[in-house]
């Protein structure tokens, strides 16, 4: 049995400890907001938070998540009101939308540690997230906007 804490909820699961967290989330628990894009830590579609750090769940064994807090896109905010989610909607960032959960989860870690990121900060924090539809420009602007929203309403 593997005990997990995901989005502030406890789970006890009978899974192979070697299984990547991504497939436990998607196939076993049914949290499908975290996406599969490459399986080899190249695209960022699968980014989740492990103790507040961005990890690629496709290459993170579920055993590593034991005793840690896991947050997925579904648990990023209570009412879909994280500044990034607001900014994403405000700027209508998405095209197909497939990469966006991973983009937001990567950006969330950046914003936690950096209240006022520069273009360069954003570039380097987001380099691991591919958007095949090419929404990078809007993602970039939305991160700046989210930072602004966050500065105005510090939690």
């Amino acid at each position: 049995m593997i005990k997990l804490n995901i989005n502030r909820k406890s789970y006890e699961l009978d899974v192979d400890p070697e299984t990547p967290l991504l497939w436990v989330l998607r196939d076993v628990i049914g949290l499908v907001g975290t996406k599969y894009g490459c399986g080899v830590a190249q695209c960022g579609a699968c980014v989740v938070h492990l103790q507040g750090q961005a990890v690629r769940s496709c290459v993170t064994k579920v055993s590593r998540a034991v005793g840690q807090e896991v947050v997925t896109i579904e648990g990023l905010s209570e009412n879909n009101d994280h500044p990034l989610q607001k900014a994403w909607l405000e700027l209508d960032v998405s095209q197909c939308g497939y990469c966006q959960a991973g983009q937001i989860m990567s950006a969330a870690v950046l914003l936690k540690g950096n209240k006022n990121p520069t273009d360069k900060d954003i570039d380097s924090a987001m380099e691991g997230n591919i958007c095949r539809c090419g929404t990078y420009l809007r993602i970039h602007k939305a991160i700046h906007l989210a930072a602004e929203i966050q500065r105005k309403n510090p939690k």
Binding site: D16, P20, G39, C96, Y98, I104, R132, G134
Partner: protein, 759 residues
Amino acid sequence: MEQFKSTTHSRRSFLRSSLLAGGGLMISFTWFAETAAGTSNGTDLPEWIEINGYIKITPDNIIKILNPNPEFGQNVMTSLPMIVAEELDADWQKVVIEMGPHDNVKLGPQFTGGSNSVRMYWKPLREAGATARRMLMEAAAQSWNVPVEEVSTKAAMLYHEKSGKSGTYGSFASKASVIPIPKGVKLKEVKDFKVVRNSQKNVEGLKIVSGKPLFGLDYKHEGMLIAMIEHPPAFGMKLKSFDAAETLKMPGIKDVFRQKLYEDGFEQAGFDTRTYNELLVVVGKTTWEVMNARKKLKANWEPAGDSKETVNFRGQKREVLIPGQLESTDAQLDKMQEYANKPAEQLRRDGDPEAAFKNAAQVIERTYNAPFLAHNCMEPMNFFAHVTDEKALLVGPLQAPGWTEPTLAKVLGLPADKIEIQMTRMGGGFGRRAYGHYLVEAALISKKVKAPVKLVYTREDDMTYGIYRPMYTATYRAALDANKNLVAFHVKGGGIPEHAIHANRFPAGAVENYLAEAWQIPSNITIGAFRAPRSNFNAAAEQSFLDELAEAMGKDPIDFRLELLKKAKENPVGKNNEYDADRYAGVLKLVKEKSGWGNTENNKYSRGVAAYFCHNSYAAHVVDMVMRNGRPYVERVFSAMDCGIVVNPDAATNMVEGAIVDGIGNAFYGKLSHKEGAPEQNNFSRYRMIRHSEAPKKIEVHFVQNDIDPTGLGEPPFPPVFGAVANALYKSTNKRYYNQPFLGAPLQPKSKPENKRSF
């Protein structure tokens, strides 16, 4: 895909007449007539009152609009219902949008591709909305006992001003549903649009940012198993034998078997392309278990040898010989070289090009090459299927359900009305998901294991089992007279296995002596539509060539194009010129103005310009490049588009921005190469994709404002990016870029490194 006009889709007969009678796709009206007569299809909840195929209105005034077309990020799920809401006079903020099921009878061809969605549905959706509104007005007029002309509408409400009476659409919906369908209802004037031409937010935006299940891979079904396929490691190989003993011992694994797709002699329709006809299938409980167990398979592969396929493309049946050799990119380039020197098929001839070249004072000749490209949709191919003896349910991402359904019916031996296809949001398409082989695979697997199954491709499967953009080449030649006037133009293009030449496009029509020729080399590497098929190569090659030509003639590249377009307009050469010279010139002038072309303050950038016409729309870009740390970055892009009326301006802008980023990425890095038939790239570690820091920080998109019915936008902005990038690279590096991808290891024939080739 651009050759598919909506009128060429086949129809069941009673729909055809509806088409003729209505002038356009008045499909919903036919269905409405049936529903009104009490033959409802039974799939709708009883409290919904059908107005017609696209619109439902509840008594409590909830308006639900079905989006007929598959959504892959082009935002049709928002833009198509906007068109209905506009004519219906609904309150856009309160409209509920849902994805329509696949139903060729009720909803039309439902094809996403060829930049056709808005263009194809523009009229029928407007008519549907306007007719529904008119019927509601008539229902109100009857109840109130007033002339219908005195009834007005606003935000889903009906009003009779004189008597002060009013009511919601919902309160008259039941009554409206039995009113005979009015004919020829007047549509709104473009100037009166309130919803259309105003930016509306993506209706699924919230679901996307909160991680709701939207995509095919997210779909779940009671008792669903996961299937994966193991395909030959190289094009030209096939499965010989296998040993699954180890795999079957792995946890969660249910079955391993070989699965043939099409029976021998199967007549393939145009979009039935599949890469390998026989696959090794592993079925198990969860994705990870199947992924793992696959690694234990012991498969033996052997050369497939030459084979023949019967393809029936729109009634034209032909036998295609598929050569069996294992192809390598180097050898392919050499072979292209060889074919380029042979006589080719003539596609168009104006004047006397041979004489003009013979008498020319100067001849400029350049050759351009481009590799196979993989679509790399962010969501790998996948589909759910549950097939029983009586019926089939399929759920997942695809662009052209109407083309896949007949194939499924044939392969499964089921009547079409026993096959239900539900379409999920797609994690990208780019043409890839017009090829429904993965539905056929999923369906056959489900049938075999007698269970609901989701077929999942890994990224590696997706990249190495592709329907790629072909490999292209073209040699352009221009003849100048002693005064440096362009007197002749010649293009000879080829490809594996298809060439890209559009013989009747610009600069055809603008040059007295013109010759277009093409050849192709058969191959076993499967190819298909890729965002702006063919155009995506032509606009790179031709627009680079025109840039070089302008330089040789001592002309500004924009002015040079405008001069040619002037000639094409005032004194067109030849027949069948596909483009409208005015609109083409229009985007060039607009981009010239908006980019501050010629302003010295822009000298810090290396600027490249290109324009192109495809899918009925016009695009021109100015790319501003800088060098940083020894490599080029596109810093800014100015873009001018003419696609007629822009339905949803901000979403349209997003799409153009995306096309530009996609174009830069593919121009810089896109490449799928082969060695002994095996793709050399199988994941993003080897297939370089454009990354966040490499996207321009500023893209300005300008639309030509006119009242022309909308044409496509998904594809047209993409092709000219390649040319503009090449031309900016020249300014940055003083070197012309002829071979894609421009950065990294470009495609260059070993045997002929210099850019010269005679024909």
